[in-house]
Symmetry: C2
Subunit: 209 residues, 2 copies
């Protein structure tokens, strides 16, 4: 799993609230079997101990399938499970500090919702950008909206991979792909579906076409 | 500030809720001027960015006065500001993982409310124990209570420094000191007081006697 060969095409971001009584690790395994190429574990409002426990479970499954695991926000958890990377938002650690603490080999992704944030993150050494929310989303209500035109403009302005996020489903996927981005991040479009493996397969198929 | 010469006698743990409109860094400076020997920055429910910003501000003042700064729970923040140590509770990172990530030179303290937790933490390489809550406390409502006898028993059973915490004030300080512990941790007894410097001075004086 070197940085150069990373496949950002179908990037799953977790949200346990969508799972009901289903097990997170099992759902991630199904999503991977359906074709997810990257997994980001995002947890808010859990204790460090609980986050670590979840991360250990998820790492076991991502490692088995050789899928990179990215931890959202918490560099301590990323270090503790030796995750492949860290995803930082604008309210998390600054990019430069994250790089200093993680070293050059870990993947660091940065959320950007404006051109300025995107250019700064690239300049500071981010490995990829998560740009959104492309469409309004119920899983992250504090996200600023970024239109498709702006997404396309950002993609054209940076040389690192751009992953689109926010309200993306099989219904609107094509418009997002048409902007030229490198991948799509989904939450509900996979995890809120009854048949996770089929939901992931459909997205993967649409992306490949 | 080597581990061997650490002075645990008057250990301030922060709680911004007690400060009203007063500035955290200024209050910590007053507490240090009053005689606090160690500062632990404890923050819950703030973003990583905000926690880091506070930690940078606090580190500036503790460094100026050559007082060790301990970060509660968040190893990422401890690393980011190069704090002198980390304090972990039973819901935080496991002791062994914290040591692996921080190395042998950083101070790691562990909260213990039972003999088993205390002995395990010592065995795993904790540098000190925070034992409590000795008295019931309003600043940490989820803390299990530990009586003075149990505190004394724990102190006699371990060879690392023991700091008592929980509801300690100038009114009940003597009983705590009589158990033979190495220091007292206080929150409200300093930060909820109008005159922080005098509150710290009084505690320090009572400890020295």
């Amino acid at each position: 799993m070197s940085k150069e060969t990373m496949d950002y095409s179908l990037y799953l971001v977790t949200d346990r609230k969508l799972l009901g009584k289903r097990d997170l690790v099992k759902c991630i395994e199904l999503a991977i079997q359906g074709g997810v190429t990257l997994v980001q574990l995002r947890e808010k409002s859990v204790s460090t101990k609980e986050f670590l426990k979840l991360a250990i479970g998820v790492k076991e499954i991502t490692a088995r399938y050789k899928i990179p695991l990215i931890i959202n926000d918490r560099l301590d958890i990323a270090l503790a499970v030796d995750a492949e990377g860290l995803h930082i938002g604008q309210d998390d650690l600054p990019m430069l500090k994250a790089r200093e603490l993680l070293g050059p080999n870990k993947i660091i992704g940065v959320s950007a919702s404006t051109m300025d944030e995107a250019l700064l993150a690239e300049q500071q050494g981010a490995d990829y950008l998560g740009v959104g929310a492309v469409f309004s989303t119920s899983t992250k209500t504090d996200a600023s909206e970024v239109g498709l035109k702006q997404l396309e403009l950002i993609k054209k302005s940076v040389s690192i991979p751009v992953v689109a996020i926010g309200g993306i489903s099989h219904m609107n996927l094509q418009q997002v792909i048409d902007t030229g981005i490198d991948g799509v991040s989904v939450v509900s479009a996979i995890l809120a579906q009854e048949n996770i493996i089929m939901a992931a397969k459909l997205l993967r198929k649409l992306i490949r076409n």
